[in-house]
């Protein structure tokens, strides 16, 4: 690593660090935001640590400690791959300070290296937490010694480089392909989604094939799955061999392969980097536009349209906020062509559950996807430096909120209704049950939208360097997504139990809708509280 790379890397880290803000900012709101952000990251790390420790200790207790290294390597490959695909392009291409950095005496190689390493360091704590948790389980299983401990730590730091390089290379390829199109952002988002979906659904199916009643069976199933991944992911095998069997060659293979793939990637990308950024940052101006009659829209519709243009204008935003819709749509289409038994056997492998029991959980499942990242959550922060436009125009801040709400409802409710209707065609419930499910999904979409807006307004951050900071790592999204995931996981079995107890899907759905509306009302109070008065 050259000194220039180090200098750039250090500056990048400093310029996006909350600690620098705490140290130098005199703005109380900014300092509070930075403190909350640090606390949020700490809480998230603790949650990950506890979850991964519980999983690994369970494995150790059921005498499966030897599969922990392989599982750990598998996670260290899949997680970075997924996360990097989502954000690599935002970090590497078209960033705000590109002109400044490129005009300074830094080689392209130094810039690409610094940007990649920045991405690596920013995401590394999460992977380290997962790995350390697995290491605890491995130690509980009594397999740990000094040699395997050292190898484990070194390989933990190196393994994520491989999937990150592959994901970044794929991301760069997508940028290269997309740059040739007029609607390059949409093309890029679609291509990335095509890359992500198989991994996402693959993970979903792997997880569900492990759900059996008996703990031992679960663990055996997990062991089989981990072993079968070795054929496709040799790095997981090398990790396992190095730690379990002390095979030095496997350890050296991990180290050399990680470094080699990184060096090759930097050399290759550096050759095309400036040309790719040139294609992205500059485009021919269309001078042939002829002014025709313009339509007047209401303020709320106009803001909703602005939100639409913002989303389609950024592949990162489009991908993160639109992936849930794509997944819901794919599942809906699948539901139209498969029998309920197939859905149940796929989701719950062998569990003695009838179609009528599963159906009430369907709206929650779709809510889970459709509400993953509501645009209302990111949009207040994404105004960024353009916020002055909203502030200085005669727009009631509540109209701005309503426009944002309208847009998110437009991209979630139709998908929710379509998915629930598709599920109804598949599961064939009564008309009343189907209608009540549609009401439930609409209610949940409204809740996700309003709760997202509450979080977006409360944790609004306008001074971001790169939009990925507020789309993927922002406080607003983090403080929304944790309760969203937890509530989804709690609600899914809960509605199944309530429905069984009440013997009525319709009544369960109406109770669910009622809860959603109560939570919506509470969130709305927050929206009003955090809406600034211009």
């Amino acid at each position: 690593m050259t000194s220039n790379t180090m200098l750039l890397l250090k500056t990048l880290l400093k310029s996006t660090s909350d600690i620098n803000v705490l140290k130098f900012s005199k703005d109380k709101a900014k300092r509070r935001y930075a403190t909350n952000s640090l606390i949020g990251q700490g809480v998230l790390s603790i949650v990950i640590l506890i979850y991964a420790t519980l999983l690994s200790v369970s494995l150790a207790k059921s005498n499966q400690a030897t599969i922990i290294p392989g599982l750990c390597a598998f996670i260290l490959i899949v997680m970075p791959f997924m996360f990097t695909l989502f954000k690599a392009n935002g970090y590497l291409f078209g960033f705000k300070e590109y002109d400044m950095i490129m005009s300074m005496p830094f080689s392209v190689k130094s810039i690409v290296s610094a940007k990649f390493l920045y991405m690596y360091i920013k995401s590394m704590p999460m992977y380290v937490f997962v790995s350390l948790s697995m290491l605890i389980g491995y130690a509980v299983g009594g397999c740990l010694n000094v040699g395997s401990f050292i190898q484990w730590i070194i390989m933990t730091l190196l393994i994520p480089v491989i999937p990150m390089v592959i994901a970044t290379a794929l991301g760069a390829l997508v940028v290269k392909i997309g740059a040739g199109f007029k609607y390059k952002n949409i093309v890029q988002a679609v291509l990335i989604a095509i890359l992500i979906l198989p991994v996402f659904f693959g993970r979903f199916f792997v997880e569900n094939t492990m759900r059996n009643d008996e703990l031992d069976a679960v663990m055996n199933s997990l062991a089989d799955n981990v072993n079968s991944t070795y054929a496709y992911i040799p790095v997981a095998k090398w990790f396992s061999e190095a730690v379990n069997d002390g095979v030095l060659l496997s350890f050296l293979l991990v180290v050399s392969f990680s470094i080699l793939i990184y060096v090759l990637f930097i050399i290759i990308l550096s050759k095309f980097y400036r040309r790719m950024n040139s294609q992205l940052s500059a485009s021919a101006k269309n001078t042939k536009y002829e002014l025709t009659s313009q339509k007047q829209k209401s303020m709320v519709k106009s803001i909703a349209f602005k939100e639409f243009k913002r989303m389609t204008g950024s592949s990162t935003y489009l991908l993160n906020a639109g992936l849930g819709q794509v997944m819901t749509f794919i599942m809906s289409i699948a539901l139209l062509f498969v029998k309920p038994e197939v859905v149940i056997s796929t989701m719950l492998q062998g569990a003695p559950i009838e179609a009528s029991m599963v159906f009430p959980a369907i709206p929650i499942l779709f809510y889970f996807f459709l509400g993953m990242v509501p645009t209302t959550c990111c949009s207040p922060s994404l105004e960024g430096k353009n916020y002055w436009i909203i502030q200085t125009l005669p727009i009631d801040p509540m109209d701005d909120n309503k426009g944002k709400i309208l847009y998110n409802l437009c991209i979630s409710v139709p998908f929710g209704i379509f998915a629930t209707v598709a599920a109804s065609i598949c599961f064939k419930p009564s008309i009343i049950d189907a209608i009540s499910s549609v009401i439930a999904i609409i209610s949940l979409c409204v809740f996700a939208t309003i709760f997202g807006l509450r979080s977006g307004l409360k944790h609004r951050r306008l001074d971001w360097e790169n939009e990925i900071e507020v789309i993927k790592q922002g406080m607003a999204v983090s403080m929304y997504i944790i309760p969203h995931m937890i509530s989804g996981m709690i609600m899914m079995p809960l509605v199944v139990i309530i429905s069984k107890y009440l013997h009525s899907v319709a009544a369960t759905m109406l109770i669910l809708s009622l809860i959603a509306w109560v939570l919506t009302a509470l969130s709305w109070k927050g929206v009003k509280k955090y809406t600034p008065s211009h």
Binding site: K14, S15, M100, S103, M104, R274, S283, A284
Partner: protein
């Protein structure tokens, strides 16, 4: 110092942004680059400073090719974009140190430069604050100080006077003159024709990506004002 020879930039879809642009900036020149919005000024400037790839032609700085020897060029050049996007969460002094590190400037030299230009632009007292708390003009001043810190042989500026207060604008003009009297060269774009007329010894006018007038200011203007000449050549080129 700066030679742009047959520079052509073609975007995807064969749309020409700039075509056969030829410019020569000698040491000691203050060269004004004038044109409508979208005429190709920023595209040319970004190619000169190595930010934008270009399709054809050659750009050299002090004999070094921008394409094949970018590092040699960058070491002696400084660039100030029209809207300086500098790291918001760094303090002014942290940013200036970053730039000084990038150019390998010694502690003594950087301290002197920062003190000199910080005082001239009356921003020294604010250098400990985060850039995110700065006004547009203050960011512009920090970007200018960053550009001057390594005493560049070629200073390239895109609309440098936008957002500067009158005193800072005057200071910048004096600095540009001082740099040129020391053998450096300044190449800048501007819409402020009065400034260009008084400040520049050479001027080029670009329209639709082509240079339509270029030369020594006195020869180009004769007894007319730059505004008259600009409007005349731009209208005649329709």
């Amino acid at each position: 110092m700066l030679k742009i020879k047959n520079y052509t930039k073609i975007y995807a879809g064969d749309k020409k942004a700039c075509e056969d642009v030829n410019i020569c900036v000698e040491s000691g020149d203050i060269f004004g680059f004038i044109g409508h919005n979208g005429a190709g000024k920023s595209t040319t400037i970004r190619a000169v400073v190595g930010v934008l790839d270009f399709t054809d032609g050659e750009i050299t700085i002090d004999g070094h090719s921008v394409k094949t020897e970018p590092m040699e060029c960058k070491k002696i050049t400084a660039y100030i974009p029209d809207n300086p996007d500098i790291y918001e969460n760094l303090t002014g002094i942290q940013y200036l140190n970053f730039v000084a590190d990038a150019y390998g400037i010694s502690s003594k030299e950087r301290s002197d430069s920062i003190k000199k230009y910080g005082d001239l632009f009356e921003i020294t007292g604010a250098l400990g604050d985060l850039i995110s708390s700065y006004s547009h003009g203050m960011r512009q001043k920090v970007a200018i100080i960053g550009a001057l810190i390594h005493k560049p042989k070629l200073l390239v500026l895109d609309e440098p006077f936008v957002g500067l207060d009158p005193k800072a604008a005057h200071t910048l003009k004096e600095i540009m003159k001082e740099l040129c009297s020391n053998g450096s060269a300044v190449f800048f774009s501007t819409h402020v024709l009065d400034v260009a007329e008084k400040l520049c010894n050479k001027i080029a006018i670009i329209k639709g990506g082509k240079i339509i007038a270029s030369g020594i200011t006195e020869d180009l203007l004769g007894d007319k004002s730059l505004e008259d000449v600009f409007l005349e050549v731009v209208d005649n080129d329709k």
